[in-house]
């Protein structure tokens, strides 16, 4: 037995890993582009945008009877509602794309030939994640920006921090797809999507419960929201995004709306954004370990 190859070169290995990750990321984007899920997503988005354009123009028609503060409150509220719809579509889309892309390939056997190539499984996983994040981020940026433009054209309202808001929405999609990807290394394709979306919904509801707890001065209820936001950062990021879209003067003007679920009363802290990054790295790491150990 002879070893005729050169000694291990870590740089070559890193280059190979990066190449694999980029190849798989490009493949994932192409998959997203060619699968029916994209068409379904495009149709849903168009319907939402069209409905919101019509709704905002109707809102504008009624502005005559509202004070300017009320009009801004109405516009920023409806914007938050529509953005919530948008974030839901992005979350559902990416979660149902993330699940099948890994678990589906393992189940169908497509993964066998790819993983029998000189690739690290973690590089393949990272590539999938990058591709999905690029897809989710691209989707949020394009549709979110279109939505903001619709609101600006119909009502003249432009949010205070649109870039922040959209970035946080994209981060929310990234968190959810990371969870779906991690689940897809252990359970079936559909189950991973369903569980991820279920947890996303549960966290949002827990956030609303927390808000109600705050309004009622019930600490136990309030803690439900806080804990759930730490366990799965989607709701926390959503609240941060809302703050980027809503008119800052509104809360000062209408303190009664302080605990409304579609308004954010406090800004997102740097620590929370840091925790979200750590959360993503941890869950992606867990997914890597689980995927590496799995027999195919």
């Amino acid at each position: 037995m002879t070893a005729r190859t050169a000694p291990t070169a870590p740089t070559a290995l890193t280059a190979l890993t990066a190449l694999t990750a980029l190849t798989v990321a490009a493949l994932t984007l192409r998959e997203a582009g060619r699968r029916r899920v994209l068409r379904a997503l495009a149709v849903m988005t168009l319907i939402l945008l069209a409905l919101s354009a019509w709704g905002f123009s109707r809102l504008d028609a009624n502005f005559g009877t509202l004070t300017s503060g009320e009009a801004r409150l109405a516009a920023s509220q409806v914007l938050n509602l529509v953005m919530f719809g948008l974030s839901l579509i992005a979350a559902l889309g990416t979660a149902f794309l993330a699940g099948p892309t890994l678990a589906g390939e393992i189940e169908s056997g497509t993964a066998l030939t790819m993983l029998a190539r000189p690739v690290h499984r973690s590089a393949v996983l990272l590539g999938k994640w990058l591709g999905l994040v690029a897809f989710g981020g691209g989707y949020i940026t394009m549709t979110g920006l279109t939505q903001l433009l619709i609101v600006w054209v119909t009502t003249g309202y432009w949010p205070p921090q649109p870039v922040n808001g959209l970035a946080l929405l994209a981060a929310q999609a990234a968190v959810l797809l990371t969870l779906a990807l991690m689940l897809s290394t252990v359970v079936s394709p559909m189950a991973s999507g369903i569980v991820a979306v279920g947890l996303f919904g549960a966290t949002w509801i827990a956030g609303v419960v927390g808000g109600v707890g705050h309004a009622l001065g019930n600490e136990g209820m309030e803690r439900v929201g806080t804990v759930s936001r730490v366990l799965l950062p989607t709701d926390g990021l959503w609240r941060g995004a809302m703050r980027g879209f809503q008119d800052p003067a509104v809360l000062a003007q209408f303190p009664a709306f302080d605990d409304f679920p579609f308004l954010s009363r406090t800004p997102l802290t740097a620590a929370y954004v840091g925790w979200t990054c750590v959360w993503i790295v941890l869950v992606l790491g867990l997914a890597g370990i689980s995927f590496r150990r799995r027999d195919l």
């Binding site: 002879t2 190859t5 190979l16 190449l19 066998l112 030939t113 029998a116 190539r117 690739v119 027999d295």
Partner: protein, 326 residues
């Protein structure tokens, strides 16, 4: 220091290349079920080795262990001289799985391009097209895989296994979805690989196929190597088919003294020991015939032949299960 390294490199370069596959003591257990137990074998460079055995013998598990798709509980694997836990060991390995599926949203040409990129090699478009042509898919290169029949997908799988200029090709049931023409194509393909010194590990249920192309065979039964060796070693036993009448007790004793005897009516089959050559002109067979004639037997036909791999396989597996029962 540099001179030393250069000398060492020259020394290593002069050594014969490592086998394409070397595995030792492979063991895989699924809960209480042992799927693979103490499996060891090698596949030399340019050699075609057949992996045979009944359903559930552990053939596919062994293949997946070699390719790092299944983690063994024990044992070591070297692919082309590199430990299999290093993904780069698979840089020159092509694989057609038993369960072949390729991205249905890609075209055949795109699937090949993807695999070339994952293998980290540069293969010009013309060479990739040639590869598709070799498996009969040249005119479907730009069609999406989703519209391919099962047989076409298996042909594409063969092209995928061959596209990145492999030095070792692992084929798990490569003809399961192919028609007779496709099977003949695969046979030609295997022989052309051997002529190019590409090693092949072939798992196939079609024993005739294995017998025609393989240099060596590894027979697995219930996760263990039941037998292995070259075809000449395994099929060394030759047989003699005779059609006789007037066979008395003496003649029958004479036949039985030559080798294990089976009789069906006037058909007699004598298994000749491996060291006896049953080729025409050799002493053993003419002597037997002369003795039989001397004992008053009327000889209608004498047909020397080799035991088929199928019969040998069945004998080995039956003997194996018989031992187990004891």
């Amino acid at each position: 220091m540099t001179r030393d390294t250069g000398a060492a490199e020259r020394l290593l370069a002069d050594l014969p290349p490592a086998p394409a596959v070397w595995c030792s003591g492979l063991r895989k257990r699924y809960r209480r079920q042992v799927a693979v137990d103490d499996v060891s074998f090698t596949v030399g460079r340019g050699e075609i080795v057949g992996l045979l055995g009944p359903n559930g013998a552990g053939k596919t598990t062994v293949i997946k262990i070699l390719l790092g798709l299944i983690h063994p509980n024990a044992g070591d694997v070297l692919l082309l001289g590199r430990p299999a836990r290093d993904p780069r060991a698979r840089a020159r390995v092509g694989y057609l799985p038993e369960l072949f599926r390729y991205q249905p949203w890609l075209t055949a040409a795109e699937v090949l391009a993807l695999h070339v990129r994952l293998a980290g090699v540069t293969v010009p478009v013309a060479e990739r097209r040639e590869c598709l042509d070799m498996v009969g898919l040249a005119d479907r290169a730009d069609d999406r895989v989703g519209g391919f029949s099962k047989g076409m997908q298996q042909r594409l799988g063969l092209a995928v296994a061959l596209v990145a200029r492999p030095e070792l090709v692992v084929l798990d049931e490569p003809t399961s979805a192919l028609d007779p023409i496709g099977r003949a194509d695969v046979r030609d393909l295997l022989l052309s690989l051997r002529s190019r010194r590409v090693a092949v590990l072939l798992n196939s249920h079609l024993i005739g196929e294995v017998e025609r192309v393989c240099d060596r065979v590894v027979i697995l039964d219930r996760g263990r190597v039941a037998a292995s060796g070259t075809l000449a070693e395994l099929l060394g036993q030759r047989e003699l088919r005779l059609r006789l009448d007037g066979v008395g007790a003496d003649a029958e004793a004479r036949l039985a003294a030559t080798g294990r005897l089976t009789r069906a009516g006037d058909e007699f089959i004598v298994e000749l020991p491996a060291d006896q050559d049953a080729a025409p002109g050799d002493g053993a067979v003419p002597k037997l015939v002369a003795d039989l004639v001397a004992l008053g037997v009327r000889v209608h036909a004498v047909e020397p032949g080799r035991i088929s791999l199928e019969r040998r396989l069945l004998n080995i597996l039956r003997a194996d299960s018989g031992e187990d029962r004891r």
